[in-house]
Structure formats: C-alpha cells, structure tokens
C-alpha cells in the first residue's frame, strides 16, 4: 500500500504541493494526469523514495525511510537512463539474477529477437553504441530492468512520451502484460493511456482531484 499523509514539498523556495494526501491500495492501478510542470514527476519521486517530503509522511508498504522505500519499487522513467555497460548489466544492475529470468523478461518486452541477432548477445557493450539504439529499444531495456527487479510497486513516469507511434505501442503492450498483479502509479499527460485503470487523478495547483 502507498500512503501520503499531509505531504508538502518545495524545491528551495518554490512550493510544489502542500498538504497532499493520497492512499493507494495493493494491486490498484492509479493514473495521474496534469499539465507539464504541475508536480507529477515530483510526486512520483517522493513515492519512489528519491526525495524526502518537506513535511508530512510518505509510507510505502510499511516503510517510511526513503532508502528502504527505493527497494520496494521499480521505476520506468521518460528517459531510459542506460549505462555505458553491457545489455546484461543494464538489465540486472549488477545483481545475480538467473539467466532464465533475464531471458524471459527480454522475451516479454520483445527484445529477444534483436538481442539474439547481436554477435555478443546480452554481453553486447552499449557504451559506444548507445546512440544507435532506437528510443523503443532503449525504453524496453529500461522496462526489462524494472521487470527483472519484480518489485510489487511499479511507478511509470511518462514512459512513452519520447517515443513514436510504433514504439509507443510496443512499450505499452509490454507494460500491459507485466502489470496485471502489480500496484501501479502511472504519470502521463495522455489520459487515453489510462484505459482500464482503477482511478485517474488530476493534478493541478499542487493538489490532486
């Protein structure tokens, strides 16, 4: 469960939101829409434990310490944030996951064919070739990373905003198959992507409706 109780947050002197409260039950799928700059990504960062609130409490699955909260969530951001390392390392982030799990995840996000065609497969070094990846491929690696971690809570921060129509469809398709039993908070400015969600909240003027 995710619970925000009277949470306020400000960047230096600029208040993003004040006394915001939100409760998301386990297994719920919640969408948050709003205009650019209204604080959607900041809210997600607070839930992910990347920031501490100025006041109030953020509790994720019983944890309030941001360090511990980070371990309970997976995130897919607008930018895939790949590292100049191998595909394997980008997906596993150095953890000792079984190879079958990684291969399954690659198959689920439609990456397996592309990886099999590479001479070094999963050990392909992305460093000098990161620019040659399409936006869809990079984002699917980011989703594979999130799926590999297999956290109960999945946070999506506009994961398809930088993609074209075809890659958009690929990524949404991969996500849809993955999120069936997860708690999801999906931030977007495209409400049509939130079809089938349990709740859709509108963020404006530092508040949620």
């Amino acid at each position: 469960m995710i619970e925000l109780s009277n949470v306020s947050f400000a960047y230096e002197k600029q208040t993003v939101f004040r006394d915001l409260s939100l409760k998301i039950e386990k297994g719920q799928k919640v969408g948050i829409v709003g205009e650019s700059g209204c604080g959607k990504s900041t809210l997600l960062s607070l839930i992910a434990g990347l920031y501490s609130p100025t006041s109030g409490k953020v509790c994720v699955d019983g944890e309030i310490d941001p360090e511990r909260i980070s371990r309970k969530v997976s995130v897919v951001m607008q930018s895939p944030m790949l590292l100049p390392l191998t595909i394997w390392e980008n997906i596993t982030m150095g953890h000792d996951y079984p190879k079958e799990r990684v291969l399954k995840v690659c198959e689920d996000v439609n990456l397996k064919k592309w990886i099999d065609a590479l001479p070094d497969g999963l050990q392909t070094y992305l460093g000098d070739h990161a620019d040659e990846l399409s936006g869809g491929q990079a984002q699917r690696i980011a989703i594979a990373r999130a799926m590999c971690k297999d956290a109960e809570i999945l946070l999506l921060d506009e994961p398809t905003s930088a993609l074209d129509k075809e890659n958009n469809a690929f990524v949404l398709d991969a996500l849809e198959r993955y999120v069936t039993e997860k708690t999801v908070v999906h931030v977007t400015h495209r409400p049509e992507q939130l079809r089938g969600y349990d709740r859709v909240l509108f963020m404006q003027a530092g508040g949620l409706k």
Binding site: L50, S70, S74, L83, P84, M93, G94, H95, R145
Partner: protein, 307 residues
C-alpha cells in the same frame, strides 16, 4: 589552388619582391659562409689576406643583415597584402553574387560562415608561407652547393637525416596511436561517471551503486595503464629521437675532421659544411610538416572558393 594563383597574380609586385628578397638573403648568407671558410683556409695555409678580401667580408656581413631585414619586411608585407586580398576579395565576390542573384546580401553573416577558413588561410599566409618558401629554397640551394663542394660529405649529412625522418614518422604514428588509446580510455571512464550522475535515480532505485563503482574502477585502471604506457613510449621514443638528432652533425665532424687531417679537404671547407648543414637537415626534417601545412592551407582556400 586557383585562389592562390589569383592572390599571387593580384599582388605580383610584392610577391616578386618577396621572392627576390628571399633569394638575395639566402645567397648573401651562403656567400658569407663561403667567405668565412675561405678566410679560415687562408689562415691555415698562411696565405696573404688582402684588404679587398676583408672589405668583401665586411660588405657581406652588412648585406647579410640588410637582406635579412629586407626579406622579413618585404615577405611579411607581401603576406599581409595577400591575406587582405583574400578577405576583401571574398567580400566583393559575395556582393557581386548577391547582385547577380537579386537577393539581399548580409556580408557580415556570409563572412562569418567562412571566417575559420579565411582566418586560417590568412594566418598561414602571414606567418608561414614565405618563411617556408625561403627555407625550402635555401635547402635546395645549400644541397646543390654542398654536392658541388664534396659529394661524399653531403651524403654523410643526408643519409642519417633521411633515416631520422623515417624514424620520426614511425615514432610519430606510434605515439599518436598511444595518445588516442589513452584518450579513448579516458572518454570511457568519463562516460561511466557522467552516466552515474545522469542515471542517479535509476541507480538508486535498482541498487546499482556497486555496479557503477566497479565499472568506474575498471575504467579508471584501464585509463591509468594506457596513460602510463603512453608516458613510457613518449620517454623512450623522444629520448631516442634526441640522441639520433645529433648523429648527422657528429658524423659530419668525425668524417670531415678525418678528411681534413688526411689532407683531402681544407678546414675552411669543413667549416662551410658545419655552418650550412643545418639548412639542409632542417629542410629534410620539416618537409612532411610543411607539406601537411600547405595541404591544410589549400584545403581552406578551396573551401573559401566553394562558398
């Protein structure tokens, strides 16, 4: 190349003046050196040194200084004239083109497109063109003169110089490969560091701190190895280069001294060789860099021509 020919034609008076000044300066320098050698020979053979000879020497000393000054002055002036012709000629052509096309012409912005090429070509003309032409001409003149004096001794200068040149080209390639490899490792290391900052939130959430730290350590170690390898190579090749650069002069001294002691040659002639060998070795050693510089210059000119 057409632009260069046009520039030379447009400023032919000053270009011819610079060429003449270079010729005079080089010939004066050579005659002076030959006279000094002749003086030493006369002293060695205890011959009579007349006043006319000393007078000639005095005149050559003065003419040496005067022609050097003239060479510098006329050469620089001709170079500046040519650089100015390049800039103004380009601006005039832009205006003519604009009137032909019926479009308005913002000369300032059009000039700014070619500013790098014009600046580089202008700098080459101003700083190097006539100097290099002078040194090249001097090298040819000296080599012909020395061959006439003593073929064997001239070969003694040329052969090790050509070998040093070949070594320099080889070592230059090795060192630049080493430097490129070290730079590449450094870039890899910086990429990891940059990505760690940029992807900080993902690293935190997915607990990737150890991965990043290890990756950075590996890249740092590789860069360190590469940089050390480059340093060792620089030290080795440059030391060898420094030692080898002394060889032509030492060989000339050794062989020349033997020939003087053996009576095959006069001491004055050896002194002429010692004074003039630098012009010859300089021309040989610098030829590749002169050619490379001239190629860059003509490339810049051809880009200006195309714009």
């Amino acid at each position: 190349m057409q632009v260069l020919i046009d520039l030379l034609k447009r400023n032919r008076f000053w270009v011819l003046g610079a060429v003449a000044a270079t010729l005079l300066s080089n010939l004066s320098q050579m005659f002076y050196t030959v006279c000094v050698g002749d003086l030493v020979n006369k002293i060695e053979s205890r011959s009579f040194i007349g006043l006319p000879f000393l007078g000639l020497l005095g005149i050559l000393i003065i003419s040496n200084a005067a022609t050097q000054f003239l060479n510098q002055y006329v050469g620089r002036y001709a170079a500046e004239k040519m650089a100015h012709s390049l800039r103004v000629g380009y601006a005039r052509r832009l205006l003519w083109k604009a009137t032909q096309d019926g479009k308005s012409c913002d000369t300032a912005s059009a000039m700014s497109i070619a500013q790098n090429e014009i600046a580089n070509a202008g700098a080459y003309l101003g700083n190097q063109f006539f100097d290099i032409a002078g040194m090249l001409f001097m090298g040819i003149l000296v080599s012909v003169f020395l061959f006439i004096q003593n073929v064997f001794l001239t070969i003694v200068i040329i052969v090790p110089t050509v070998m040093i040149l070949a070594y320099s080209m080889f070592s230059g390639r090795v060192l630049s490969d080493s430097a490129a490899a070290a730079l590449e490792e450094k870039e890899h290391m910086n990429k990891v560091a940059y990505a760690a900052c940029h992807a900080f939130s993902s690293i935190k959430i997915f607990d990737g701190e150890e991965l990043c730290k290890n990756a950075y350590e590996i890249k740092l170690t590789e860069w360190e190895k590469s940089a050390k390898r480059m340093g060792r190579r620089y030290a080795l090749y440059n030391t060898l280069s420094g030692i080898m650069s002394r060889v032509p002069l030492l060989l000339l001294l050794a062989v020349g001294a033997y020939m003087v002691l053996d009576g095959q040659m006069l001491l004055g002639t050896l002194i002429v060789f010692l004074n003039l060998q630098k012009s010859l070795t300089q021309a040989i050693m610098n030829m590749p860099s002169w050619l490379a510089g001239f190629k860059v210059f003509t490339t810049n000119l051809s880009r200006v021509e195309m714009m």
